[in-house]
Amino acid sequence: MTAVAWERRRRAARRTLTAFRADREGVAGLVVLAVFVGVALFAPLIADSDQLHAVNTTANPTWAPPSEFLPLGTDNLGRPIWDQLVYGSQVSLLVGIAATLIAIVIGTVVGVAAGFFGGWTDAVLNRLSEWFLVIPFIPLAIVLAAILGASLRNIIFVIGVTSWPVTARLVRAQVLTVKQRLYVERSRALGASSAHIMGRHILPNITPLVIANATLTVPIAILSETTLSFLGLGDPLRVSWGSMLEDAFSAGALGREAWWWYLPPGLCVIAVVLAFTLVGRALEAILDPRLRAGWRG
């Protein structure tokens, strides 16, 4: 890569950053995300993982509201809600980000292959994405998780392999427009290989779109994780916000109005999902050429 190209990319990155700073909602989302990522990374400093297991919490009161057990009360086994909430953030963020990475990689490979090679490859891959778009997502994830078994790895895999078609379609459309550009034709006329064109022209051009799309895929993955864990398909050995809701529901917390148990995990899911969506929409408005005019609001 030449120095000129790098300089150009640095300038483009700086422009994006300036535009992003001007987007108040995007910045607010980013701040919320930073808080949650901080909580997930420094979980051992602010919470006690021993307290997640009922064998270590026999001294605690059970069903204690926040007023009786600081800061957020305990569940039916005396496990503090605060520690579960803090460690739960790790699973939700990990599943959201890892599943999105899988979906983005599959989606980009399929989209680039379909758009770049066209013809039969395109027809077959298009059909395949259409199939995956049509198959109802949550039931498919349920069936896969039921067959593969409940574990963190499987839940990431299941959400990842069911979430890629939207990315594939977006990438394909963008590749089709980039392919028509003059500099690609010029490059081809000068004898450049497909690999060269893809690496130097196509991929750099679709990267911004992929980044914006990835940011918007994470919240969907986090919501899916919450639902699947609530249905009992999460990792039984790790606490997540979804599994907290499942525990609360099956322990009868609703009838006992133990709101301190099931209110916080839901609020955390909303906060993280909303934050990712706000950041994603801000990035999309800046990076997606079709929205750049800014009329969509």
């Binding site: 059909r127 259409e130 199939w131 049509v134 198959i135 109802p136 949550i138 039931p139 498919l140 349920i142 069936v143 896969l144 039921a146 067959i147 593969l148 919240p219 919501l223 919450t226 639902t227 609530f230 249905l231 009992g232 398909l233 979804g242 809701l245 609360a248 529901f249 609703l254 009838g255 109005e257 709101w259 099931y262 209110l263 995990p265 839901g266 899911v269 909303i270 999902v273 909303l274 969506t277 706000l278 009329w295 969509r296 609001g297």
Partner: protein, 322 residues
């Protein structure tokens, strides 16, 4: 509409259904080891009994023979027997479907009407206080796990205030019939229906708003204004009619997801529909039941997508003549 377009769409739908069938078969057969051994673990079976059970579950013969038999049986609407209850899967799905259609269908209708009205009102006055309020609350409800919202509504309105029942479809102790029975069921349906309607309304609102924003720049709106039409006439006669197109697709897709849309919410409210059937089947896991449910869920989406594709040329002349 050209015949070619229609035939193409119908064939495409059949291809998708065929894919779902093949996918469904391999998903459950290739991974699954031996359900007979799993189900009758710890019991002494004679070889004869074992063979009979293997045959009953359709697990004897080569994979290819199994596949042919599976396709034949599915086409005859025989989806096998549930491992859990030993009843035909079709019968159980058939019995649970009406409850789901009533619940999710009503919720989809309500959220559709409310969401579209909200989207028009927000998009037409873009950037106004009302727009900001409607957009941000739609994004907030979109970000909320639907079953969690159900849990909260259940605690507030059923447990705390006692206004609604906490679950089920009717009062098991009542012997009401006719209208009284229906009223009781409607009363039981209110909270889950409200939950789903709130969960769905945001998407309709956001899609309708952005299609209104799309048509706002069109020349025909300028022309309509130049003709001296009132603002509400420009909106209702010209903007809304054109902006409704993307929403019709969304509506069709949403009706396709009616059957599978409320798995977690039905569980929260113990609403005896397909969603509750799914969560119960997960416990075994009751594989034939899951397989049958998955097939029905997918088929419903395919059918409604086909309806949307076939209806589109009637709604949009640009598709008809291109």
């Amino acid at each position: 509409m050209s015949v070619r377009y229609a035939v193409g769409k119908v064939l495409g739908a059949f291809a998708t259904l065929a894919f779902v069938l093949v996918f469904n078969f391999f998903l459950f057969r290739v991974v699954e080891s031996n359900p007979v051994a799993t189900l009758y673990r710890g019991r002494n079976l004679t070889d004869e009994q074992r063979e009979q059970l293997t045959h009953q579950f359709g697990l004897d013969g080569s994979k290819w023979e199994q596949f042919v038999r599976y396709v034949e049986q599915t086409l005859q609407l025989n989806l096998g027997r549930s491992y859990a209850t030993n009843q035909p899967v079709v019968d159980e799905i058939w019995a649970a479907a009406p409850q789901t259609i009533a619940l999710v269908g009503t919720a989809t209708l309500i959220s559709m009407l409310v969401g579209i009205a909200m989207g028009i009102s927000a998009g037409w006055r873009r950037g106004s206080g009302r727009d900001r309020l409607l957009t941000s609350s739609s994004m907030a409800t979109w970000s909320t796990p639907d079953f969690w919202l159900g849990m909260i509504l259940l605690t507030v309105f059923a447990v705390r205030l006692g206004l609604f029942p906490t679950g089920g479809i009717e009062d098991p102790t009542s012997s009401a019939t006719g209208i009284a029975k229906l009223a009781d069921q409607a009363w039981h349906m209110t909270l889950p229906c409200l939950t789903l309607a709130i969960a769905y309304v945001g998407e309709f609102m956001l899609v309708m708003r952005s299609s209104i924003l799309d048509v706002m720049r069109e020349d025909y709106l300028t022309l309509a204004r130049a003709k001296g039409l009132r603002d509400s006439q420009v909106r209702d006669r010209h903007a809304v009619r054109n902006a409704l197109l993307p929403s019709t697709t969304l509506i069709a897709i949403n009706f396709g997801f009616v059957l599978s849309g409320a798995i977690a919410v039905e569980t929260v409210f113990s609403w005896p529909g397909l969603g509750l059937l799914t969560t119960e089947a997960l416990r075994g896991p009751d594989l034939p039941m899951l397989q049958g449910l998955f097939l029905v869920f997918s088929a419903s989406v395919v059918v409604f997508n086909l309806i949307a594709d076939l209806a589109y040329p009637f709604l949009d002349p640009r598709v008809r003549y291109s």
